[in-house]
Amino acid sequence: MTLLIQYTLLYASVLILVALGGCFSEHSGIINLGLEGIMVIGAMGGALTLKALGDFPAVVIIIATVLAAAICGMIYSMLLAVACIYFKSDQTIIGTAMNILGTALATVIVKAINISNNPDDVSSNVQYIQGKKALVFSVGDFRLNHFMIITFILLVVSYILLYKTRFGLRLMACGEHPQAADSVGINVYTMRLKGVLISGILGGIGGIAYITAGVSEWKFENGVAGFGFLALAVMIFGQWKPHRIALAALLFGCFRALSNVYSGLDFLTSLNLSSTIYNMMPYIISLIILALTSGNSRAPKAEGIPYEKGKR
């Protein structure tokens, strides 16, 4: 049971981070379907840092890894920002391209590094196990992960930033009614750029948190297995509000955790279901929940529509 709670918290913190990323981007008016790609690139940056810093003190490792992941995610999210804000491209195409590109790019880079070290090594893993030990700490029986703390801090910061600061309110205005925002002197383009970049930062940190959640080293060929989209489902279920996102993430995280730990729970093993069922569970649950809750969605009104100054 402790294992279940442990994994639920782990996956929930990843989902919260990435869903908050989506939330900032969508509140500014840009649908970020490229979160999955951002996660992969952030994860790559973080994993390479972890590998490079294997023997440093834990604090240095944590700070450097989170920073590296955040910066990689932010730079990668520029692809979305430039195309969709300034060139008014279709946000769905660009997001999809970013997802495919993220996995391909990370695989190419990681494999190139592995091959240059050893021509026979064709794996797409980064050897970060040594550095990963710095990320974990124990409280009694619980093995916790520093990302849970970081997530909690970022969750509170996001809530305050969105609802209690001038920046957050202006950001949301750009997603609800950009023309009105522009008419009172807010630069819609810059606000949207900031929204997307924040989502890149959060998505990148979410990426490294996700790949270090598993026991074994992550294969970059696999991308992040639809986790970015699960986060979007969490965001929609959370009605684009940080505190609700946190609750939704706990629910989804629990179902995701089940596929890792079901064999340790007696009442589940007695059901004798195949492991595939547990793998499918998070996706099925999210489809059902989306079907039930999307009807009266509180999505930002202007999301997905490129802003043009002269247009009525």
Binding site: T103, G226, Y283, L290
Partner: protein, 380 residues
């Protein structure tokens, strides 16, 4: 002044073609730069290998044989891209093509291997399965307001696991691949119609090739020449206007995704029933074919005829990627190039806008010049 030339540059189809060429060239260029970063020594050779693909074989026989193999995989890709572009015309982004493709593969292999049915029954079963997935996405979109991209992704993963589970009983005992159709049920193999003789007796070249091209033409006719196609396109351009003029926009949404799903699943059945490849029941990622279909659809300028060429091109560089020198690079470099191409396709609208602006400017100049000349002529 040459009036023909002017009209060609203004032609929307020609502009799409030009934009696609620009996307391809830029994509290859960026791919080349990435290769240079990884290892400058072999970059030029590697990019040439990717572009050449089967042409690298000196003998005519071998080249034809591998051209055949590329075509065998280009046929399902074409159908996936048709699935994507057909839905896109109605304003829907069918990212679920990958899952519909997986379900198609699962159902056709199950019918062929477990139920021992002939090939055309397998194809129909696959198409029904794909259409069902499309209907689920469509209903969720039309009646529950669920974004079709998110439901599509969820369905992709669900169908991947379902197919793995469904095909486990028909896998080889010693491996995790499904049984070879040729050994179990020859009736389920697609008839070759003698086409294999054209490609140095490549036995995988079958009916699939002409059938996929016919599908492209049928989709073209449906979209451009029928009432249904007109309604679908109108719904895509402005949903509210379509609803106002009496079109059933909700059932059109469901119908579009159902047809899209059937197309992607047809692609899968045409591929797996050729016996070229077996399904691995431990697959942990959704088939890439569906996502490459998105690349092909946009690269082909969202036209069914363009998709025929773009599918071949995408498959061509994907196959070419398998030939790069593995001691320096990995084959994913071609995925990288095709994803860059999709990204650049997002800019096509901008490129067209840019071209039209340039044309407009040069025309304005000419008009001004002509006007001033006329004026001078009048004063004389």
């Amino acid at each position: 002044m040459d009036p023909n030339k002017k009209s060609l540059l203004k032609n929307d189809g020609f502009q799409s073609f030009l934009s696609s060429i620009v996307c391809i060239l830029l994509g290859l260029l960026i791919g080349y730069i990435v290769l240079l970063f990884i290892n400058p020594a072999g970059a030029t050779k590697a990019i040439l290998v990717i572009i050449k693909n089967f042409l690298k074989y000196p003998s005519y026989q071998a080249a034809m044989k591998y051209l055949g193999s590329t075509l065998v995989k280009a046929a399902p890709l074409l159908l996936c891209s048709l699935s994507v572009l057909f839905s896109y015309k109605t304003g829907l982004f069918n990212i679920g093509a990958a899952g519909q493709y997986a379900i198609g593969a699962g159902l056709c292999l199950y019918c062929a291997l477990a139920l021992r049915l002939p090939w055309f029954v397998c194809i129909v079963a696959a198409m029904l399965g794909g259409a069902l997935l499309g209907v689920i996405s469509g209903i969720l979109k039309a009646f529950c307001n669920v974004n079709e991209v998110i439901s599509g992704i969820m369905l992709n993963w669900i169908s991947l696991y379902v197919v793995n589970m469904m095909l486990t009983p028909v896998k080889e005992e010693s491996s995790h691949y499904t049984m070879n159709i040729a050994n179990v049920n020859k009736d389920a193999l697609l008839p070759s119609l003698g086409l294999n003789a054209l490609f140095a007796n490549n036995q995988y070249v079958t009916l699939a090739l002409p059938l996929s091209v016919i599908c492209a033409i049928v989709i073209f006719i449906i979209l451009e020449k029928t009432k249904l196609g007109f309604e679908l396109r109108a719904t895509g351009l402005n949903k509210d206007a379509a609803k106002y003029s009496g079109m059933a926009e909700k059932s059109n949404t469901v119908l579009t995704l159902a047809i899209g799903g059937a197309l992607a699943a047809l692609g899968a059945s045409l591929f797996y029933l050729s016996g070229y490849e077996q399904w691995s029941v431990t697959s942990s990622s959704v088939p890439a074919m569906g996502f490459n279909g998105i690349a092909a659809a946009f690269l082909g300028g969202l036209s069914p005829v363009g998709a025929i060429f773009s599918s071949f091109f995408i498959q061509h560089i994907t196959e070419g990627g398998a030939y790069v020198d593995k001691t320096m690079y990995c084959s994913q470099i071609s995925d990288l190039i095709s994803s860059i191409i999709i990204y650049l396709c997002g800019f096509v609208l901008f490129m067209k806008h840019f071209m039209n602006n340039m044309l407009q400017k040069s025309e304005n100049k000419k008009a001004l010049k002509a006007a001033s000349e006329n004026k001078e002529g009048g004063e004389e």
